[in-house]
Amino acid sequence: MKIDKNTVDKIAHLARLKLSDAETEKMQSNMEQILSWMEKLNELDTTGVEPLTHMSQEVNVFREDVVGSHLSKEKALENATFKDENFFRVPKII
């Protein structure tokens, strides 16, 4: 798999990462090497194979709809860098 700089930039944006030029260059070669190695899977014929999407054997796990012990607002806000009494604070959007 050939990876160009534009692809790295696009993926970095999707992943919400900011890479320096040097990091982009290194990422490009690492990704190219690893993605090419991953292409080994194409040797296998998987026609008609159902993708394995769930590893747990549990199905329909129900519980009574009762009030449990959950995080209080204060506790939930505890780990935020910017907050007020009720909300997480972010830079102005509009």
């Binding site: 090497q33 993605l35 296998l44 993708p51 999407t53 549990e58």
Partner: protein
Amino acid sequence: MNNFGSFSELRNVISSGKASVENLVADCLIRAKENIGLNAFLEIFEEESIKKAKEIDEKIGQKKSGRLAGLVVGIKDVFCYENHFLTGGSRILSGFKSQFTATAISRLIDEDAIVIGRQNCDEFAMGSSNENSGFGPVKNFIDKNRVPGGSSGGSAVAVQSGACHVSIASDTGGSIRQPAAFCGLVGLKPTYSRVSRHGLIAYGSSFDCVGPLTNSVEDAGLLLEIMSGADGFDSTCSRKPIDNYSLFNENDRKYKIGFLRTAFDSEGIQQEIRTELQKAFSFFQSQGHEVVAMDLPLLDYVLPTYYVLTTSEASSNLSRYDGIRFGARAVDAKDLEEVFKLSRSEGFGPEVQKRIMLGTFALSADYHEAYFTKAQKVRRLIQNSAKALFNNFDFFIMPTTPTTAFNVGEKSKDPLSMYLADIFTVWANLAGVPAINLPVGFDNEGLPIGIQVHSGFFEEKKLLSFSKSWMDFINASKENQL
């Protein structure tokens, strides 16, 4: 170094009055401090563990103590422990304090285990050498120039150096078993979903398993018995009944045991490890078990499948680190997008960023089918072949690692050579079956050799009974040699 075989010995020491729980904790604290340079701990809860020890000594006096009274536990820094810091080995979680306790850990505490500290690990459990931690590498206690394995390197070294009696860690692709092999310990990855993941930092959610690192199979069984079982906080957690894993009473028949054929003669596997495997083969044969050298179907495909799926799951799981609700936040960000991008780029280390990028690529609209869905299909084939294998065989045995502990810096330059170190451990996580590393011997340089035993889904009781009788034999023959 360790000076006990299993927790039952410590329990006898306590009940005979030779030592108090407080003495045992003090011993561990001394060893933890002596070996502080190994960087196994991110934080030691000194005052707290001494205080807890005194309380438990009192409970023992009143005959009100739990099953783990006197056991000193270290936890890999991927488990929430209420009102304690938690980093996952990452700078992005600097300053984060857990608001609740992980189910597996709280079940141990309820039985009076004492948590002595948080253990260093590869960042977000991504690594095979513990050189990827945001808080510096961990060194192997036997030889400081060797890696301890990863990602649970700190957890392995802490037990290896006697700084705690057991550790609790996570295994996504070998993160318990590989460090156990490099440090000469027992390391158990249970069946997927046997132990609740509630309160465990997510890496690859369809792979992540919680398990113990111990000196003995006995302790691994005891801890599994206490940690296992349904949990209202994790709907994927199995509701199957828990076997009495700590009894080891399932040994009454002759087994059919498969051995990885290529491991006997492959140049890529260290000679002494091949010799240990051969010894095991002959031993089980002499015991009357049916042993078969066989190929593992699809072994050549396990690593690419594993890395496509885990990087994809990681890219999704790690999207929660946005700098807003918790964790480090870039202070000079001008707008919301910059808050995300700068916080994440400053907070995540290079290996984590690489895996997020690979996963984002594999999940992106143009490549989703070709990478992610393809790997899920191959995973189905791998799981089907594992099911077929265990319909015919009781156990499957292969080395845990191709070599003993490698040198610090040896593989960190080439990402692929590091990924290849996981060749024998990822299979169990892809299939979902349980696997245990057993410390069966040493190489010519005195470095531990680990062999891995697998069993069918939820057959931990059989796996542990079998492992214990094998280790009892190995330990008895070592004593005879002395």
